[in-house]
Symmetry: C2
Subunit: 371 residues, 2 copies
């Protein structure tokens, strides 16, 4: 796996990530395909939005259909018809947020499935093996996402456990050409802990570095402050991935600080509830204001929701509980996110990020319902 920075503007970088499953331009947004599918989207539709890399969830896939079954069926790429790169999370975050009867020990986590109550165990080794069986292009180190808020002592203990697990995850990782593994910086909002965590990961050595434990309730200002500090601790020649982020505004702020990769359920989840991301922010298509509006959701957008239909039609689909409403709006939101990233890449390469960012923020300020 090779990462090449091709342009910078301030701390922001544009580049290419070359993998065994193809090349992606950064900064990049990865749509979330939790259980082997990006919700409400065919793989062809995901490709049509401009997405080049997607995310899969180790926790969900190990429980159903099971990593061995996915492997027997040719791996996750073949299974879900996504020949491009796939990043899988380690399962650590979902175990703590979804599983029942979790018991954390120094070696790993024992938990009950939220689906059928069956008992399972995840360790740095088993998480890494599962991601190998899934054929993840990018494997994430198994960690504990430190809850927020946490005292500095709690955050330190949690981070140090994650760093021990990071070393074990790395030891369990089988290197393959064009594949890679990312370590995850923890340490909550405490600069000294973030520095200790980054140093520990650099000492182990990974193909990329993720920043975890943010966008968990600390607010955008605290997130960006921690990010500014943390991004500077990471090597310039490796990709930086801010996990689970975020709103367009969060992504812009993080790109300005030198982050290269993002994932978030926001555009897909919002699409299923009638919420559309547009250049002026977002709007709720269930709102009666759209009932008779013949205008497209976003003029100039090439997605089928915008190119083929009116806001009135999308409003109707949500009022009538037609599955096509979530389908079209998910498609639009992912298209919007990809177009946001494309605009950021172009602005960085042409040295216009400051102006471009000001224009984006100015348009968002006109939004009646800010995020």
């Amino acid at each position: 796996m090779k990462f090449t920075v091709t342009g910078t503007d301030g701390a922001a970088r544009a580049g290419w990530l070359d993998t065994a499953h193809g090349q992606v331009a950064t900064p990049v947004f990865m749509p979330v395909g939790t259980a082997g599918a990006v919700k409400a989207m065919t793989a062809d539709a995901v490709r049509a939005t401009g997405a080049g890399i997607i995310l899969g969830n180790t926790y969900h896939l190990m429980l159903r259909p099971g990593a061995a079954r996915v492997a027997a069926l040719g791996g996750l790429h073949r299974f879900m018809d996504w020949p491009g790169p796939i990043l899988t999370d380690s399962g650590g975050f979902q175990v703590m947020s979804l599983a029942k009867l979790r018991r954390l020990d120094a070696h790993g986590v024992t938990f009950q499935s939220h689906i059928d109550g069956s008992s399972h165990r995840l360790t740095p080794e088993s998480s890494t093996e599962i991601q190998w069986a899934l054929d993840a292009t990018i494997t994430m180190a198994f960690d504990e996402c430190t809850p927020f808020p946490a005292t500095e002592a709690e955050a330190a203990a949690s981070m140090r456990l994650s760093m021990a697990w990071a070393a074990r995850s790395r030891a369990a990782f089988v290197p393959r050409a064009g594949y890679g593994q990312f370590g995850i910086v923890q340490g909550s909002v405490f600069p000294a802990l973030r520095a200790e965590s980054a140093a520990a990961l650099l000492d182990i050595g990974f193909e990329g570095y993720a920043i975890g434990g943010l966008a968990v309730g600390e607010g955008q200002e605290a997130m960006l402050t921690t990010l500014r500090h943390t991004a500077n601790l990471l090597p310039a020649n490796a990709p930086r991935y801010l996990m689970g982020v975020g709103t367009p505004s969060d992504i812009l702020g993080a790109v300005e600080l030198g982050v290269d990769m993002f994932d978030c359920v926001m555009p897909t989840r919002a699409g299923r509830t009638g919420r559309a991301y547009v250049p002026a922010g977002h709007l709720n298509l269930r709102n009666a204001a759209h009932a008779q509006d013949p205008a497209p959701l976003q003029a100039g957008c090439a997605c089928p929701a915008c190119a083929r239909h009116s806001r009135a039609y999308l409003h109707h689909l949500f009022k009538a509980d037609e599955m096509l409403g979530p389908m079209l709006l998910t498609w639009h939101n992912l298209t919007y996110y990809q177009s946001l990233m494309q605009g950021l890449r172009e602005a960085i390469i042409t040295g216009n990020l400051t102006t471009h960012a000001a224009n984006l923020r100015s348009a968002w300020r006109t939004n009646n319902d800010p995020d």
Copy 2:
């Protein structure tokens, strides 16, 4: 609107229906787009299945979003991105099956919406006007679908009411080039009543003739017996449409008797529940037998469910309640139905319908779970 028979094989006919919104080859299956959308399908996906004409529901659309709103937004074709021909039913059937507090009188039906309890009235005149406002390529006469079973006296009274309404529907119809209106033969399973109904409709004169009140519980044998009798009463140079039918086996039997047009929710509804139509009949993808099966749902089928995925993946999507399961299986089932019709058209034109029908029935007999 022009109908041209280009080939016959026994009583079966192949032809072309030329409309203001394009030409369709018959025998034809019309996917059902009840509320302005074919469920779980984009309009592009419906086109990709090979469908050339779809059906819309007057009852649903008059209640939500309302015919005037659809008209203000450019008509149903523009609203749902279907520039091709659209046939709308008259609302009569849905009022009797879905609405609350129905009160039938000689002039029409008063009812309460199943959505919000609001009061509405449908008459031959208002149904025809609503279909005009929707911009239906083919308007259906407003009728009462005679319940089954019915005594001969009940069936006669119901049919004669429908014939009076047919004359009023025709009087309310505004002829336009490439548009047409179909009358509906009623009379339950009573040959004399079917004959009286057909004669009444021919006397009024329509661009096409539908056969109603079948596939309502009488069984395939009684349906085909009534159909054999009724099809012979209808002019050879006008299209014949069997409403709400049916299984692949029902369609084959009806095509053999000279029926040209069909609609049914079966392929779309079945797709949402995990049931797939295949040359050997159908199968339930929720069944554990498919959990590890790397084979495509139907070898050689070009739909994305078959061309891109395994039965194991489709099984997984249904077990995981992923919306993509219904999406892919609806796409497949509509593709199967269109391919069934294409095979029938070719067999009629080449004079091979007897052999083709025997082959289809022989394959269906191998099905473990016949319909």
